[in-house]
Amino acid sequence: MREAAQADARREFEERLAECGPLAYRVARGVLRNDADAEDVAQEALLRAYKSFERLRDRNRFRGWLVRISFRLALDRLRSAKRREQRDTLWADPAHLPSQANAEDVAASNQFQSHLERALEELPEKLRLALLLSAMEGHTIQEISEMVGVPVGTVKSRIFLARKKLAEKLRCHANTIKTR
């Protein structure tokens, strides 16, 4: 009896995997800015989701649930990576650190992209998740509101606020690109 229920849950999860796996990856990638880390986090998130899949009453909420798991795990990993980075920087030999001259060689568009990623990282979590989901292809405001579990108006205001904050931080960088 239990084995049959497990097999059913496994089958249903497999069906959702192809659709939701990329979503978990992209959410993680949006937070972590690293492909390998994002893949690890997506895998972990999907595994956790699978373990608790049988307990999920409303299966229609699976996408939102997975998004929240991925986002949370990615944030955790980002924080621990930052701590590690700080520790490594403290102990590293300054002679081995990359020189500032190398950073100046980076192309303007790449510079803006890195500024954008940094600014995105500094956004409050709720704003960041709403903005990332809105930037992903195929997500309407209604879907985001269902995934995140907040009203449509709240999603709209979060996206607006997030973009405004980003614009405040990136205005000077964007103008630099434009003048070139």
């Binding site: 990638r29 992903m136 103008n175």
Partner: protein, 232 residues
Amino acid sequence: MPCEHYKDALIEAASTGAAPQGELQAHLAECTSCREAFAQEQFVFAAIDSGLHTIANGEVPPSLLPRVRASLEEESVSSGSWFTNRLVLSSALVVVLSLLTVRMVWRTSPGQNPPDRTANANTAASVLPPTQTHNTTTGPSKEKDATSHNRPAIAVNRPAYEALDRGKNGPEVLVPRDQELLLASYARQVRERRAAPLVAASGDATTLAPLEVVPIQIAQLDVKLLTEEKSQ
């Protein structure tokens, strides 16, 4: 620099991507600096949206789904083996507990108490049958012949000695030949005092037959006069 009055409206219009309406539209038509600022804001938001699109829609590595499927497979296998292990462990625990329970019940039920052999054995081990003592400690046959006058008493007590010998696991006590019987009698009294209920209840072979104590025979002294010794 844009006009302070229109700054917020200008940013809002640029962020939504909608064309300016009404008063803002009229102002933009007249004010060059606000028109430039508006174009700049539109560029900033377009750059942000483009960058966000790149970040949010990165290519998903093809290894992701196979990896997840493999980990799911591992997970289901490990959970299955965990379930089996738990079943085996719980069965073993039940068996052990039932065995312990049976043993406890058997120990505590009246009339099923095993005899307290330790006290008996301790007492018994302190005295050894004279025959065995002789065999192990003193070997010469001449000596056996010389002490053959003690045999009847030992023969009478042979069942008792055998019973005592069964519980022999303590140190051997060597006593002088003429005190063996006395010591055996003393040991019996001690044992009877310690295990009186047991003796009374069981009445088995450990019950000693009444001892026949042979009176101590003292050889007559050969008295010689001092004068006779001197003459010799």
